[in-house]
Symmetry: C2
Subunit: 702 residues, 2 copies
Amino acid sequence: MTTTSAPATGHDDHAGPDDATTARVDVAGLAELLLGRWPEERRRARARAGEPYYAKDESLTPAEHRERTLEQMRAMVASDDKLSWLAFPERLGGFDKPGANLACFTELVAADPSLQIKSGVQWGLFGAAILHLGTPEQQDRLLPGAMDLSVPGAFAMTETGHGSDVDSIGTTATYDPATEEFVLHTPFRGAWKDYLGNAAVHATAATVFAQLITNGVNHGVHCFYVPIREVAPDGSAGAFLPGVGGEDDGLKGGLRGIDNGRLHFDHVRVPRTDLLARYGSVAADGTYSSPIDSPGRRFFTMLGSLVQGRVSLDGSAVTAAKLGLAIAVRYGAERRQFAGSTGEEVVLLDYATHRRRLFPRIAEAYAGHFANERLLDLFDDVFSGAQDTPERREDLETTAAALKSTSTAFALDTLQECREACGGAGFLTENRITSLRADLDVYATFEGDNTVLAQLVAKRLVADYGREVKGATRTPAGMARFVVERATSAALHRTGLRRASQALLDVGDPRRAAGHLRDAATQRELLADRVATMVEEVAQAMRPALKAEPVEAARILDENQTALVEAARVHADLLRWEAFTEALETIEDTGTRLIMTWVRDVFGLTVIERNLTWYLLHGRLSDQRARTVTGYVDRLLRRLRPHAVDLVDAWGYGQEHLRAQISSGAEAERQDEARAYYQALRASGNAPVSEKALRKKAQKQR
Amino acid sequence: MTTTSAPATGHDDHAGPDDATTARVDVAGLAELLLGRWPEERRRARARAGEPYYAKDESLTPAEHRERTLEQMRAMVASDDKLSWLAFPERLGGFDKPGANLACFTELVAADPSLQIKSGVQWGLFGAAILHLGTPEQQDRLLPGAMDLSVPGAFAMTETGHGSDVDSIGTTATYDPATEEFVLHTPFRGAWKDYLGNAAVHATAATVFAQLITNGVNHGVHCFYVPIREVAPDGSAGAFLPGVGGEDDGLKGGLRGIDNGRLHFDHVRVPRTDLLARYGSVAADGTYSSPIDSPGRRFFTMLGSLVQGRVSLDGSAVTAAKLGLAIAVRYGAERRQFAGSTGEEVVLLDYATHRRRLFPRIAEAYAGHFANERLLDLFDDVFSGAQDTPERREDLETTAAALKSTSTAFALDTLQECREACGGAGFLTENRITSLRADLDVYATFEGDNTVLAQLVAKRLVADYGREVKGATRTPAGMARFVVERATSAALHRTGLRRASQALLDVGDPRRAAGHLRDAATQRELLADRVATMVEEVAQAMRPALKAEPVEAARILDENQTALVEAARVHADLLRWEAFTEALETIEDTGTRLIMTWVRDVFGLTVIERNLTWYLLHGRLSDQRARTVTGYVDRLLRRLRPHAVDLVDAWGYGQEHLRAQISSGAEAERQDEARAYYQALRASGNAPVSEKALRKKAQKQR
């Protein structure tokens, strides 16, 4: 990495070593690299997302949009490539490629998020429930209909009364040995299944989660395959089957191409063999058995097998942020507003505020991209069976929760900033961003509410910390690194000596301090140390809760809840920074690597800048060094200015994906026309003189 | 104010002096106070906003929604109260009550933001342009049609190529003395008028801004009254008049009940007498004259007369945030998720993270409310003529820009937080928040892009600072206070002595430091000092630009642009804090004042908390004191917990305004039903026993 050893470049825009002024992004090369581990599949999925047939049609009514989305899914099934089947077993026509499947799914957001999420419901939830919770026999029997869409399905887990707390759902499935059936029942309104994609109109079956009761014992939440609607002769969904009812969730803030709805069951009989029985089954006489003894671990194993939703939303959120940024950056590189020092109007990207709004987000999108690539690796390792260990599974779940909760929040915030950075034009649907943002909104709360996920992450970090302290268990890979980091530097921090010595060193040229900040090792230490220290602090603060009375324990948890959530976010920052830094080593082109190192530095340093208070209060940065962070980031942003369009182009989304009027070059054309008009007018000698100019002239003559 | 002298209450939820545990919000009394200066008008406007006839109908197509909005406006005109005419002259049937008019306008957002903004276009922009830029003769001739909606109008200022930079628009109005007409012309595509409400369908006339050219001189931007469409026999808009063209802006991210569109003019002839001539007129022979000599000051005076848009958006944004918060807080007070220490599920508001998400925003909404009340005062003083001085006008414009840019950003951010705090339910249109947020989105960029407005504010603050330093001019009221503050404490800060002594004092009980932070004088000093110091720093950093070459000057500006924007935001924080603190004195009920003082403290301290890095790096807070801020805020939030619903109820919006299923009490009903079910089940003796409980029992027996 060239920059870490390069001398400080001062505040001049492009001053510095020769390669810093001549470096250019190899857009095609970087784009190729970003295709990741399954380049062919991803390329095909991206090409599909750019086809007009799959593009979101903003003119449709919600009802029309729903039908069109289903049609598009049928077209995907009918296509030769069968990308929707990548994750399914080869023996059923699939490809057994779980990672490639999610990479392709991620691309679909560029076509229409409704198409993506309705596909996700069908193949990633309904189908995946059969795949991961069913026995081989059940897969053979039930998957083909889910795969080929002859059975559109709903994934009936969430209830009106219980979302994140799946364990507490109210729906019951009580075994009746007399008929060898489960009796599926909704005991009260709060137990209606709710927000289910496909449930309002299209689904003819559902995978329904319910409390399994047999012989008077509740064995906890299990999943049942349940036909819910008649199938009309043309294959479409007809009336509800006896005992099944429901209603339409109606309009939503976005994703209007999906028919979300509610379902309820009145003593509906489900054959014993339609309990998806991989993790728990009931014999004819009602005896329950499970390969997993502990009901708690069984429950989390079942839910954990559905982690792919979070993994794929993480990648999709990053993709959506990229689309918004590509539109805003392309427009910002053309649009001019207010005359500058030369009299000519200034391009938006030449304003410091505009760079501040967009460039750190370009950096964060790259960080999110590389982190998702690593998450896909981890996912594929586990679900392909290559490295399916409990530790890897736990690491996968924690990482997915950390990244999903971070990237979906990032995407919404970024799309909003992009929309505002495009002014009034950004508000028009023809410029795409508001539409994309509305659709992405629910990504923040579905497949795990972001705040709940962050707590899940933090609690695992704290538990790992406890295990590490006891030395009883090896920590998962993600934890190990920062604990090592922490260990090597903790002594110094703890004594406060470090702060004192750093303060001494920092006296003098602030640029020297900045030079240090762009050192990758410094960034890593600052980021990793923060995670380790926060986890340690929370762990210690919560320790008394273990022995406290319930009410006091609740108070202690309450006092530390905000810190828990923050620790999870900080963990995600470190994960993303590490992924970005690792990825830098795979960039062969020197100029590209140099520029991407600046981008990585922008990510690392803006994360540190956001949390400067923490670094100051914990004595990790001296006042003097802290003061240099913002100035150094601003210089980096100026240095990235000439590469901004290249950096968003390298994401590989063309106008067929962006589909915004303002990303089409139309603004530059309009400006050329205006410029030509004024030039011709001046040349004609008929140009009016301005009153302002006349008065200035008159004043001078006075 | 009771709290400032009360002893520190420790970390226990409700411990403290007696009045702190018994204090309750007098909801009705506070609601009455919040009605402000024009309670009768505001009450009537709010009642209208709660009538089903005016409620947003989410089921309409965009085309239907546009027609319905126009119908609603006609009904408003036909109503007895004529609230839409409050700002217009008595001689024309109005009431000459500019402040009351905006107070009422603000309430309309609760009905349907499309209705509000389309009304704003008709009466607040099209009508206001005639009122403020026209002569009395023109008012008499043109206002009645605008007032009674017989002439729906567009306000044609913004062009595709120029938004914030109105000075540079391309449309020309060239005077032709032969016919005593202006020739209105759009010379190129970038000069098309764009984003204009009413322009796509309903407008039959427009107030068009164009470069006024006569006798070969361009006198800058002026406004012209221009019929644009034929009027059909039924009074509706027909085809474009000759020379006028345009197109529909199509779908937008929100406000779909408004027909925004584009207009262009091909040598359209406008009678000389239809130049709105208050600030500039052309004699028959083409001689231009104006009561304002300087073209620059003339331009800003004309634009300044239209400041009401910003004032009213500020209030509307605060209102929208209140609606979102009222929905989320009411739901958060009922909704339960995950079992707590007693086994019962915990109400969302009892989670620390949930309080952190919502309560500081309740405080900020109150701060925004009181600041808007003061802004309305200022506006009414100027526009009623009571105190129409150049200084007051300038103060009004600066304050409006500061508050509008702050409150619209706050509203969007708050609505998003509220929507996420309601989980999946928040995404459903039946729960209102996503719909409100989509409509509010454009408030961030219309009537002045927020980033541009912030710079306008900061530049005025810097200019005022320059004048203050020179001692040449009195600073406007808003500036004076903080400069005084700065002066009294600057010496100490500058030497760093203060920091050192404070650090010494802080050693010991951190709660003592927190006690100090809730002192109003401390909060004021911290907030005011930050504004003064930032303005001073930016002013000094930019001083070299005055004597520099253009390119160097541009570089200096660029380096300080981010700080300028930040200074403006900080100024708005101080304005809101001051307004809140002043308002506290008007609350007579002791309990209410006590609780509202906590709310004010939450606002002040969360602002300080957000900017803690600055306070640390500028030596304004010791590390030790800074460390107490977050803990103290958290304690305040816990203390506010029992009053949260009262605090949002006091805003005066009932279910007829909130119109969200989740704010109706339905959630509590569902929980009661579920609870009753489980109780009956337990009583019946048929309740299944959980496998978990069985295993625990078995383990104990082993």
